[in-house]
């Protein structure tokens, strides 16, 4: 198991966003986290990546508790993510966004940065370009990120996450706002990332065709609770899941 969520709870004032969540993500798998709007999926992603604190419980990444680690330490350990409400570096170019993703493995002190004659070396630029090629955004490299259409912005977030050379990527609704063709490409890209790079994927997504098509395991969240877990076919037939999505209770 690469990720273990143990008894995680989170309240926002009176709202119980997460109630005693337990599940694990297997190394090398594509694991989906689904559920109706407001189920707590993004909250859990925020807690795993460390930008939100949990009230109680613990999270283990590669067997180590990361509860008390700041987000940048978790990134150092090999955790990357994308955001439902796009968090690109809007004023940087597409290429620069990926270059910043390589900061982790290429950071320098102020002194050596200040006396360096060449800014960012060829190797970093080449690596970033090959990532852009991988996500099929090479033709946009010089564009300012905020001028891209939503679909490409989502792709770029994936590329930037890849640049950190992670072991686990959290994707929060990567297909939101994408058309059918783009969604299909995304679906292939996600599988490629897992198959070729061996990176584990935890994906939150509302597009059921995408989820059912690529997931090894699905965990279903409703009102902050895990209501089901299983393989796609089982989840599709699960009466609790069906009623949660139909809004009956």
């Amino acid at each position: 198991m690469i990720l273990d969520i143990k008894n995680v709870s989170k309240n926002f004032g009176g709202i119980k966003a997460l109630k005693n969540i337990n599940f694990s993500v297997k190394k090398g798998s594509i694991h989906a986290l689904i559920g109706p709007n407001g189920a707590g999926k993004t909250t859990l992603m925020n807690i795993i990546s460390g930008i939100e604190k949990m009230d109680s419980g613990d999270i283990y990444f590669k067997g180590f508790s990361i509860k008390d680690k700041p987000p940048y330490k978790r990134a150092e350990m090999g955790l990357a993510r994308t955001f439902q409400n796009l968090e690109l570096f809007g004023n940087l170019t597409v290429l620069e966004n990926v270059i910043v993703g390589m900061y982790l493995k290429n950071q320098r002190g102020f002194l050596s940065s200040g006396i360096m004659l060449r800014g960012i070396n060829r190797e970093i630029v080449d690596k970033s370009l090959s990532i852009l090629e991988y996500i099929k955004l090479s033709h946009r490299q010089k564009e300012i990120a905020k001028n891209l259409p939503v679909g490409e912005q989502r792709l770029l977030e994936v590329g930037r996450a890849l640049a950190t050379e992670p072991e686990l990527i959290l994707l929060d609704e990567p297909a939101a706002g994408l058309n059918m063709r783009e969604t299909k490409n995304l679906s292939q890209l996600i599988q490629k990332i897992r198959d070729e790079k061996g990176i584990t994927i935890l994906i939150v997504e509302h597009d059921m065709e995408l989820v059912m098509g690529i997931s090894d395991l699905i965990t279903v969240l409703n009102f902050g609770e895990v209501i089901a877990e299983g393989e796609p076919l089982m989840i599709q037939k699960n009466p609790h899941v069906i009623s949660a999505y139909l809004g009956e209770d």
Binding site: S49, G50, I51, P70, P71, Y72, R74, A75, E76, L79, A80, R81, F83, E87, L88, F89, G90, N91, L92, E96, I99, V100, G101, M102, Y103, L104, N106, Q107, R108, G109, F110, S113, G114, I115, M116, L117, G119, I120, I124, R160, A163, T164
Partner: protein
């Protein structure tokens, strides 16, 4: 460093070499020296504001530490001037770290408040316990570099502007490096930066220390050039003046620090003709330029130039 900036640095270098050929007037050289000293402080604050998104209202404090400590060490303890300067800068940077750690851990503009208090405390200390108290002290040894003592205004002019060129090269390289990219990234999204492994707090602390080092260097150069110090030049007024330079010059480009220092330093000289109205005209010019050039002069010039080129 980008090509454009490399050319700009080269042009600045040529200008510095040629400038004394254009004038033999010591008054003008003296003003050029003060522009340079102010520019050093302003460049540091530009990086802090433009690249770390933080405001300091206490740059006069670091400027004062640089000036007083270097002066005291060389005058009363007889240390070599260069060594005194280095120690003064080191003390300023340690002070900056101590100030930054608690205020930059928190979100928001705590640094502005903390530096405001810090600047005032330094001013009071200089006023109450500095040599000569409010009236200050003189006989500070002039700058000497490995035994060579600088005497003439011309020599100080060259030294100070050489410092600026070195500092500009260093700063432009920094901004163009991975660290600089990370700093710009933080501006657009702190959350995303964190999840990419960027230790935002640490970077902000480093930028603040850098701004303190530049200010302390400027202070030490000032002390050994003027050879006389009194607390009045190290008050909140000076911190606000530097802030003005940065805003007028433009925070999004570090050349703005030099442009702002140039304008704010020569404006009072140019306005002498207005006699008792000079403060009024001074205030009006500043207000109008803030109203009509929000981004500052340097970014405005670059934008205009780009528009002109593309036509």
């Amino acid at each position: 460093m980008t090509k454009g900036n490399a050319i700009a640095v080269l042009l600045l270098g040529i200008l510095v070499i040629l400038f004394p050929q254009l004038t033999t007037d010591n008054y003008i050289l003296t003003i050029a020296i003060f522009i340079g000293i102010n520019a050093l402080v302003a460049i540091g604050l530009t990086i802090l504001m433009g690249y770390a998104g933080q405001i300091s209202l206490g740059q006069a404090g670091f400027y004062g530490i640089g000036a007083y400590i270097s002066a005291i060490l060389s005058l009363y303890l007889g240390l070599p001037v260069l060594l005194s300067m280095i120690i003064a800068i080191a003390i300023a940077s340690i002070t900056a770290v101590v100030l930054a750690i608690p205020s930059l851990r928190l979100k928001g503009h705590y640094l502005a408040v903390a530096t405001l208090g810090f600047g005032e405390i330094i001013h009071i200390i200089l006023h109450e316990w500095g040599p000569g108290g409010p009236s200050g002290f003189g006989d500070i040894p002039p700058l000497s570099i490995f035994g060579y003592i600088l005497h003439s205004t011309l020599e100080y002019f060259y030294l100070i502007w050489l410092c600026i060129i070195v500092i500009m090269i260093f700063s432009l390289n920094l901004i163009n490096s991975m660290t600089g990219k990370a700093l710009r990234a933080i501006h657009d999204s702190e959350i995303a930066s964190l999840t990419l492994g960027i230790n935002i707090t640490k970077l902000k602390i480093k930028v603040f220390v850098l701004s303190a080092v530049y200010a302390a260097l400027a202070g030490a150069l000032y002390a050994h050039y003027v050879t006389f110090l009194s607390p009045s030049g190290f008050s909140l007024f000076y911190s606000v003046l530097v802030l003005m330079m940065v805003v007028i010059g433009g925070i999004s480009n570090i050349w703005g620090g030099i442009a702002g220092a140039l304008i704010i330093t020569i404006l009072p000289e140019v306005l002498r003709g207005f006699k008792e109205f000079d403060i009024l005209v001074y205030g009006m010019i500043l207000t109008l330029s803030l109203l009509f050039m929000r981004k500052g002069i340097v970014p405005l010039i670059i934008e205009t130039y780009k528009r002109w080129i593309s036509k």
